[in-house]
């Protein structure tokens, strides 16, 4: 894993800052800064929310910042209950509920974003999924090379965690999955290799609520992913 990319996200920070300020723990609306910050209530200071800091805070608090914790939020949409909406830019996954609500989960996404936007579906679900490292990871990482043929599920070091939901276009598996993590402090950051990661309690919760066939909408995230003109 490399360090969090330093990407200017001032507009997002401003909006998310307001949201989190209301929740008590906040990302900062700091227009001049180029990376995620959170408010450290113990020291009363705003601190960079990068991988190192996220790990320190997680070790201390044993939980994610409140905004990234699972919660029911107001969410008005025309999408049917059971639909998943993934907002990689804000690091939220919404599971639409009846009555103008959604369950919102914090997510970690890829270093370069999710890579695409569009509509897919949950084509398959698996408990304790086998992890097969991609060839490029096998080539550069001796630890991954050991598991080139697949790491069995259920191991504490399996990067997919306890559950995985495989995203399909029609009947074809994409390379993308919604899965758990062995690095829960990375929720809220852009550090994975492209998939959507939830902490393990959350991925079990989502797994139990989602049916195979569920519609998944991946929102536009970053202009590079759009069909620009």
């Amino acid at each position: 894993m490399s360090a969090v990319r330093e990407k200017k996200r001032t507009s997002r920070l401003g909006r998310l800052g307001l949201l989190l300020a209301a929740a008590g723990i906040a990302l900062g609306p700091l227009v001049a800064l180029a990376q995620t910050q959170i408010y450290d209530a113990k020291t009363g200071k705003w601190v960079d929310y990068d991988k190192k800091k996220a790990r320190q805070l997680y070790a201390r608090n044993k939980q994610l910042p409140e905004a990234f914790q699972r919660q029911v939020v107001p969410f008005r949409t025309a999408e049917a209950p059971g639909t998943i909406i993934i907002d990689g830019n804000q690091h939220f996954l919404y599971l639409v509920q009846p009555g103008g609500k959604a369950i919102r989960y914090g997510i970690g996404v890829g270093r370069e974003g999710f890579g695409w936007a569009g509509m897919v579906r949950v084509g398959r679900k698996a408990e304790n999924p086998t992890w097969t490292p991609p060839p490029e990871m096998v080539a550069r990482d001796p630890n991954a090379a050991k598991w080139a043929a697949g790491m069995p599920g259920g191991r504490p070091d399996n990067p997919l965690g306890p559950r995985a939901m495989y995203l399909f276009v029609g009947d074809s598996d994409t390379i993308y999955r919604i899965h758990g993590t062995i690095e829960p402090w990375t929720i809220g950051l852009d550090v994975s290799s492209g998939c959507i990661r939830l902490n393990n309690e959350d991925v079990i919760d989502l797994y139990d609520r989602v049916d195979v066939g569920a519609k998944v909408i991946v929102l536009m995230q970053g202009a590079a992913l759009y069909k620009g003109v």
């Binding site: 804000q90 509509m119 536009m220 970053g222």
Partner: protein
């Protein structure tokens, strides 16, 4: 959607069986487009005609282009929502030139342009504001300093015109224009509103998004036909060759029907000429089907029941 697809498949299977034995010929066929209000209207017309005129009416899902072909061939009798100016090319061909299709006299006022979420509307109030990079940078989601804006689905006729407008007004220079399916864009609006994010996007009314969210329509100069110079879309370079520096022309939509109906079933032509809906009613239809997920046929039954006298009036000469 899956259930709807299954129904379509089943209907097709049954239609084939009946065709083979020569049974079940509906008196009329109404085409249903794939947007909610069009589906509601198709079914309201079906129930209304069946109830007041005693005819058997089928509703068949199909796109507008196929509906026009069917209206000419005689396999389709009615298309419930023909949007203007969007389908003007088809109207020119089938209504003006061939005389195969007739547009009912009553129409529903419609609108299209650009909308802003409440957070965006604090900074961006008019189309002129889009040309100011200092203002549009609040719409930036990837850190490149340029705001992003959804301009429509890749297949829509309006999407190319929004490209022309962005080029002509000049904001295409400082913004990234996005094309993707409407469901993705509408979910993005939902997420933006839920977290008070700024977002600007192409929008049209009647549409249930206005029932879901408090949106601001961006101000722009009133439509001036002299300032809309669109090259034919058949020209691969039509976007570069076109220019549009005012608002869209006021839009509207009408019921279209096969001109043959006037002689074959004048009572139906009379009914369609009298059928009228307000823009508010169409928004409610869009919301009922698109958000509340009411079944179109069931919704139509209730609507006709609640508007019984009015629908009976449509059948009177």
């Amino acid at each position: 959607m899956k259930r709807r697809a299954s129904i379509v498949l089943l209907s097709t299977a049954f239609a084939s069986v009946f065709a083979a034995v020569g049974a079940h010929a509906a008196d009329l066929v109404i085409s249903a487009p794939n947007w909610p209000s069009g589906q509601a209207t198709a079914n309201i017309l079906k129930i209304g005609i069946e109830k007041t005129l005693g005819l058997a009416v089928d509703v068949k899902p199909m796109g507008t282009m196929n509906a026009f072909v069917g209206l000419e061939k005689g396999t389709v009798d009615v298309q419930p929502e023909i949007w203007r100016p969007n389908f003007d090319d088809l109207v020119r061909k089938y209504v003006d030139e061939k005389g195969a299709v007739t547009l009912a006299g009553k129409s529903v006022a419609a609108w299209q342009g650009l909308c802003a979420t409440p957070s965006a509307a604090k900074t961006i109030k008019s189309i002129g504001d889009l040309g100011d990079p200092e203002k549009t940078k609040v719409l930036d989601t990837d850190g490149d300093g340029k705001g992003e804006m959804w301009i429509g689905a890749p297949t829509w006729l309006s999407t190319g015109i929004e490209q022309v407008r962005a080029k002509s007004y000049g904001y295409g220079e400082n913004m990234t224009l996005v094309e993707t399916e409407e469901d993705v864009a509408m979910a993005a609006v939902d997420a933006a509103v839920a977290t008070d994010q700024p977002m600007v996007f192409y929008c049209y009314a009647p549409h249930h998004v206005f029932q879901l969210h408090e949106l601001t329509r961006l101000e722009e100069p009133a439509h001036d036909a002299a300032k809309w110079k669109l090259a034919p879309a058949s020209d691969p370079l039509w976007i570069e060759k076109s220019s549009a520096t005012t608002a869209w022309d006021a839009a509207h939509f009408q019921i279209g029907y096969s001109s043959a109906l006037t002689a074959k079933r004048p009572e139906v032509a009379n009914f369609l000429e009298h059928a009228d809906f307000t823009a508010d009613e169409v928004t409610q239809m869009s919301y009922a089907l698109g958000v509340e997920r009411q079944e179109p046929l069931e919704f139509a039954r209730k609507w006709v029941e609640q508007n019984e006298a009015r629908v009976e009036g449509w059948a009177k000469p």
